[in-house]
Symmetry: D2
Subunit: 302 residues, 4 copies
């Protein structure tokens, strides 16, 4: 079944809140998200800033210990301008270089929906005009955390959250561990495009129309977000420093290869050792994000 | 001019040693490297293990403060088998997971030169047979470090060294800061292929035939290794934790964009913020390696 | 005014929960805490494990932006045995050493209240019997976090939480930023003694009788927990890695010296640079804790 | 036997250099060190800056795999003024705070030898005058590294080097692993006093008169510097981030307790878990330093 949902309020924490909609496993939802500052498709501020989340959506039958499957069917900006910070964050440059970072106001990026591009006009700098392809993605989405916590949309964890990974775009399927009955799925913080690491602290922030399909895998327990696209399966680790993010993601991938691909520990290690690829999600948020990937073509045929 | 050089001894540190050959800026050198364990094209141990280096090669006219340009013209395995560790290193998984890592002997990978593949037969694991394309690369190469240090080929720094980055393959040009007269260039530690991060502590370790072209850019001073290939320009940071590697690489990229691409600080930041890409070199060696990249198509036209 | 409060339920997250008692600024509260596993003074499990918290206590008049002052008047174990993990955590040893860590059951420590000591009998090891002085402390305490979050008692942040610092003992005064009306103060997780770093993941875990005096400093805003005892003023940073904990604590100390001790930025830096002391709180919890201290005798006389 | 040695040249790297003096195991040496900038007891620059080292001293009979014992008999400033940086380093504060760090010239500290104090007059700041006790210490000392490396006196490792730990003062005995025949002992970089962490990048830098007694423990192999004073035994880990320094030091302490104090692995873990203390050496140099300590009174009686 397909649901159309229009949000009337938003959350700045992921937690065990009353669901805005109850759906069956396998249902799709089309909805909207406001941008990170709480502005909607008209650029009007409708809720306080800080990655406001649409949701939560309750999936009937999801219980702690299950896995929630989120297929990102479509994500597209629903207005023609985004905003972004102009200067990289002080934590991504040498501490001795921080004083050389310039100060600058937010940058405006104009979206050309027909051409699928975003254009920056930067009158204050010599860069002039810069046009890049858009790759719409979700910066912050996930489920209610374990132990009935309510956690700020600034950060991320096993439950997902503000992972700010370029790979979370249309055509990608994401798996989350379920901690609360009904999973309680949230989404928001769309980016028209983003560099690796979200090193300025924002992508091109914009409101979105999003369609997702939610389903439940009963009795399957995972430790960290997982995902797949046409080419890769991947796991996501969220922590500081980057080393620990990578450790979480790598450990989760070893577990996945053993659980679902029929490999013994040695086989999982052998496959990973020469075939692994890593992506940097973000190195800006309180928890950084690293992604561990294996090309599907090298997975064992089950 | 093109030189053919056959090494008769090797170095386990990069330092201010007597050159084995003096070349002019613009000359090419074809030579061989032994594998990380000191074995040559016949699989015979000819020197102690630990990333033995061929060289150093002195480039006439290179002075401290200049930049050495190393174009990797060709790199190909010169025997038909490589070896690799089978199990990922304990520092790339969760500390609580380390006890679950299996123990296993080294893995043998057979090279098919015609097909450009490496094949692992793993009779001890359920993985069975795994065939992947080879992508020959240099694990450890660079110049004599600053302050007349002599530094182990296990690690890396501003001078290059054991960076273990998959991107150091044929067709790539690498730039090193010059610290000693003549630059004193070393190379070794070839890998037929390697996963991101060199997370098992080795790639597919093998001896190589390598051709490089060395030249000098007088009066140009850089802070960290830089490079370029058909698609990207990139900078390399070597340190622990990964966060610091990324900081070094990002800072060096900002400097590069300002020095050579006519950008002011704000322009360099704007370009980097939404267009940057990062690669993980290694997360195994004493210094980890992160690579900061900008697609050439988004660079300002000078 | 002095309150005697007997808890009937506990919290496993610090959040904006209904207060169990409302007190005036300047009031004292004597209450009890269960141990980290939820066992009371009789060793009986009365609530689920995980640093259950007594509270929250609402202090009338405390508003966001104020500071809550917590004087730890008394803290003493109210039973004669504590428990502890026997083996250090895998994250505090070299990754390559983890496999050599032994497996062992929990250790029992007997408390001698008259002598103020804890004694371990370790029949499984050659250590034999070990008697050390007790230094009762609070492992986890603090206020409701910002943005109405509810955060697990496993970790810590600007609001306090599971800091596991040996210095939080009787005679110490602690300052917390106030994020919710009434501050909402929680306490629990008593340790009869603890090594620096809580490196085995526990101190000597035990139930306690605790007396605290709570008061409010109106209009004073701080960024991280602060404290003082007879000898030092100190600031507390909670994050990973340890480097970041130290950065938070050091920055907060610079701010304190400027705000309250009449120093200009240069003076605060000069004082800190040669006089600072650091303590390691914990290196086990999701957020690590470092403490930055200045001896009171070197503070400017106001 | 007691040697008086007057240096005529200095080293900026620790490496396998020609010894300036050969001594027998058990001999004492009285010598001088210049300050970190290469200035001697007259404040005259006699060698280039960068922690110039006196030595190396060769101890007859020391072989790789042995341990060098260095008792610091005496260390006292031999002039009446030291210098220090005035502002903490950008890596010890929050990255977002770096721009608020002031700029200031070096600070002069006057030494009162009779009273054992150092006094700062800071006319540029409100701090005014600050007098603290001196605690003379060695910032950088150690032996020639493994693999015949020559490593900058800016950093540290298993061989010692620039550890900048306040505990390296008179009355302390330090143990170093021997990597080169004769050990080749270097010393320099004296500080009249230093805060924990050397967070401004210097202590009170001054030239020194130093007396050490060198001896060899044949056949005893250690992994990292160890030490002892009247109250503690301790181990030293040098790496980044602080977490890894602590891991090295803790692992080395577990090994020591098992090797020399008759403990089994469980006993070593039990002792460490509730009795360990940590000191911060430095968090400024390329490798940070953490020190793991056990009070001698809790060590097993052998």
């Amino acid at each position: 079944m397909h649901h159309q949902f229009l949000p009337t309020h938003y959350h700045l924490t992921l937690g065990p809140y009353a669901p805005v909609l109850r759906v069956q496993s396998g249902d799709s939802i089309s909805t909207t998200t406001v941008d990170a500052s709480g502005c909607d498709q008209h650029g009007v501020s409708v809720t306080p800033r800080g990655n406001p989340q649409t949701g939560p959506f309750l999936v009937e039958g999801a219980e702690p210990g299950d896995t929630l499957v989120v297929r990102i069917d479509q994500i597209r900006p629903n207005r023609d301008h985004g905003w972004a910070r102009s200067v990289v964050a002080p934590n991504v440059v040498d501490p001795t270089y921080v004083k050389q970072l310039p100060e600058a106001p937010l940058a405006d990026w104009q979206i050309n929906h027909d051409e699928g591009t975003a254009t920056l006009k930067s009158p204050l700098s010599k860069l002039g005009e810069l046009t890049i392809p858009i790759e719409p993605m979700l910066g912050c989405f996930g489920v209610a955390p374990f132990r009935q916590q309510a956690i700020s949309t600034a950060t991320s964890g096993e439950y997902g959250g503000n992972m700010d990974y370029r790979g979370f775009k249309a055509g990608t399927t994401v798996y989350f561990p379920v901690f609360e009955p009904g999973a309680l799925f949230f989404l928001g913080d769309g980016h028209a495009a983003q560099g690796d690491g979200e090193i300025a602290g924002t992508g091109i922030e914009i409101s979105m129309e999003v369609t997702v399909t939610l389903s439940v895998i009963k009795g399957k327990t995972i430790g960290w977000p997982r995902g797949e696209n046409a080419e890769f399966i991947f796991t996501v680790g969220n922590a500081r420093p980057l080393d620990q993010s990578l450790q979480h993601a790598t450990t989760e991938m070893l577990r996945w290869l053993e659980q679902d691909y029929g490999l013994d520990p040695l086989g999982a290690n052998l496959l990973l050792s020469q075939c692994v690829r890593y992506d940097l999600g973000n190195m800006f948020d309180p928890a950084y994000t690293m992604v561990c990937k294996i090309p599907k073509r090298w997975l064992p045929v089950l």
